[in-house]
């Protein structure tokens, strides 16, 4: 067990956004946080590395209680890829080098440069090294953001909708990279997602949020038409195409009209 969350509770202006959140994650696992817009998926992600401050509960990482650690110490354990990545007049290499911030004392060292270089190789991005990030496509930029979180040398990666603005090919590429790195380096990844089919394909476990609580949580077996309808308020059918499970809304017009 690498990450354990106990009874996490988050308030925003005295309104309960998240409560009774508990789950644990093993090494080598990719976990998808699912749920409708505004349910608190991103909030949950940010509570895990204390970008937001939960009101109660605990997050244990490798036996440490995160709430006892400083922000720099947390950043050496958890990498975070936000939904929106800002650009500037920086080369990709410099942008990724920034991920060494939690390890930098006064200035970067040769070791930092080596680590950045090996992550560029790992993600097959050597050619992008000196490209300016303000001239990059969305897919390239997302890779830079992921590379930046990897040079933090984290034990857990948190990704907020890593594929939301990408085309199909880039979605598959990014998720496959995450999947591969998690397996090869024995870390864990937690990501919020909207695309249930991509989640089914690339995640090992699923946390479905509803009303600020964990509605269901477990392996692929928890993704049933009934659970999906309870969470998203929309009837779905789950079938198999080419050996892969797929979630498809059940004749959407009828469903939505019936719900009105």
């Amino acid at each position: 067990m690498i990450l354990a969350v106990e009874e996490l509770e988050f308030l925003y202006r005295n309104r309960k956004i998240l409560h009774e959140i508990a789950f644990s994650i093993e090494e080598g696992e990719v976990v998808a946080i699912l749920g409708p817009n505004g349910v608190g998926k991103t909030t949950l992600l940010k509570c895990l590395n204390r970008i937001l401050h939960p009101k109660g509960g605990a997050v244990h990482l490798d036996g440490n209680n995160l709430f006892d650690l400083g922000t720099m110490e947390i950043a050496r354990l958890i990498g975070y890829v936000p939904q929106r990545v800002e650009t500037g007049r920086l080369t990709a290499f410099d942008a990724v080098l920034l991920g060494r911030r939690p390890h930098i004392k006064w200035d970067i060292t040769e070791k930092d440069l080596r680590i950045v270089d090996s992550v560029f190789r790992l993600l097959s991005m050597e050619k992008l090294r000196l490209s300016y990030i303000d001239e990059m496509s969305g897919g390239e930029l997302q890779k830079v953001a992921i590379a930046r979180s990897l040079v933090q040398e984290p034990k857990v990666l948190l990704l907020d909708e890593p594929t939301s603005s990408l085309d199909l090919r880039n979605q598959v590429e990014i998720l496959a990279i995450i999947r591969q790195i998690v397996l090869e380096h024995g870390i864990a990844a937690v990501m919020t997602m909207h695309d249930l089919n991509q989640a089914l394909r690339y995640a090992d476990r699923f946390i479905l949020l509803k009303g600020g609580k964990v509605h269901a949580h477990g392996g692929a077996e928890v993704i049933t038409p009934q659970v999906i309808e309870e969470v998203y308020g929309l009837p779905v059918v789950i079938g198999e195409i080419a050996g892969m499970r797929c979630v498809v809304p059940e004749s959407p017009e009828v469903a939505l009209v019936n719900n009105l």
Binding site: T71, Y80, R89, L90, R101, I104, D117, R129, L150, P154
Partner: protein
């Protein structure tokens, strides 16, 4: 997770080395400009004499003594004041642009300059510290410069304090800070106009004259204070360059990298405001340098704060020194206040850079 297989990429090192060369070139240019600036003016001094005098050679002849006096009492303090003020305003600007995530942030944006001008106006009009002389070259003197400087400095601090207070209540978000600054700026401008409306001719002239920022009004003691503050601020900003890089990548990325964004933003604001306040209080309002120099440097060496901060510091010093030298030469023997020249010289250069785009 550990990565050790990588090498240090040559092409990146080359890219970084280019930035070093730009900065080294800037240093050389600054030194050359310093010597040149001291040599020109109403009395021409040959370059080698300037260097001899600066190196501390004792004057032998009467004319050498005059040169010694001109260099050490008039031109050197003025040139150094231009360098230090330009560097300070520019470095304050580059840091404000980063922590406020706003390309038009500068000591002006937050109302600091206008607050300083208002403070000087209060001193002149209400406390009666201004009068007019009849010579053309030095038409107006402030007969109690220390009181005027103090009043100006206090109002700069007041403006900063109000912005920080608002940030404390509403959270240190860049939008709140910038908008509060714009509001304060207008408020102080209105306040200055109000005082000017009721001022007599003498006071009015003194207030207007004060707002023309001029590096010629500094003495050695003031120069030492200003240099100390600016140097400390530059060191502080350089020590924080990775934090500013992180904030440039977005607040959430920065927080994910362990950076306490709100704290860095508040402290950075206080230091930048303090530097601006000291410069404005001693020299008056000098616009443009703090806003434009960082953008000029961005267009040549990019947004990496590790190079952008030293680069902006240097270019700020160079631009203000060049402006001040030009201000002494254009309608010689009359001397223009440098604040008029900074925009005249800087704006066309900057528009050229805007049109040309980034250096590849």
């Amino acid at each position: 997770m550990h990565f050790a297989s990588g090498a240090v990429p040559e092409d990146y090192l080359l890219y970084v080395r280019r930035k070093y060369f730009w900065i080294m070139g800037g240093l050389l240019l600054l030194f050359f400009m310093l010597v040149y600036s001291i040599s020109v003016g109403a009395v021409e001094i040959p370059l080698y004499k300037v260097i001899q005098t600066l190196l501390g050679q004792e004057p032998m002849t009467r004319s050498d003594e005059n040169i010694w006096r001109i260099v050490w009492n008039i031109r050197l303090p003025q040139a150094l004041a231009a360098i230090v003020a330009g560097a300070g305003l520019s470095v304050a600007g580059v840091v404000m642009q980063s922590i406020l995530r706003n390309p038009i942030a500068s000591p002006f944006t937050l109302g600091i300059s206008n607050a300083g001008a208002f403070g000087a106006a209060v001193s002149v009009v209400v406390l009666g510290t201004g009068k007019v002389q009849s010579t053309v070259a030095d038409a107006v003197i402030i007969n109690n410069p220390y009181l005027t400087t103090m009043a100006s400095f206090l109002f700069c601090l007041l403006a900063t304090g109000v912005i920080l207070l608002i940030s404390k209540i509403r959270g240190a978000s860049p939008e709140v800070m910038v908008l509060a600054g714009v509001a304060l700026s207008s408020l102080f401008t209105a306040g200055t106009m109000f005082l000017q409306y009721f001022a007599d001719d003498t006071q009015l002239a003194a207030v207007v004259f004060w707002t023309f920022g001029d590096v010629g009004r500094i003495n050695w003691l003031e120069l030492e204070i200003m240099t100390g503050v600016v140097l400390l601020a530059i060191l502080f900003f350089i020590a924080n360059c990775w934090n500013y890089n992180a904030i440039d990548a977005g607040d959430e990325t920065a927080k994910g990298l362990g950076v306490d964004v709100e704290k860095i933003r508040l402290i950075g604001m206080v230091v930048a405001a303090l530097v601006s306040a000291v410069i404005v209080a001693f020299l008056g309002v000098i616009g443009f340098v703090g806003l434009i120099c960082p953008h000029m440097v961005r267009r040549v060496i990019g947004d990496d704060q590790k190079y952008l901060i030293p680069g902006s510091t240097l270019l700020g010093g160079i631009l203000l020194l060049v402006s001040d030298t030009a201000a002494r030469l254009i309608i010689s023997p009359y001397v223009l206040p440098v604040s008029i020249l900074t925009a005249f010289m800087g704006a066309p250069a900057f528009i050229y850079l805007l049109l040309r785009g980034y250096k590849r």
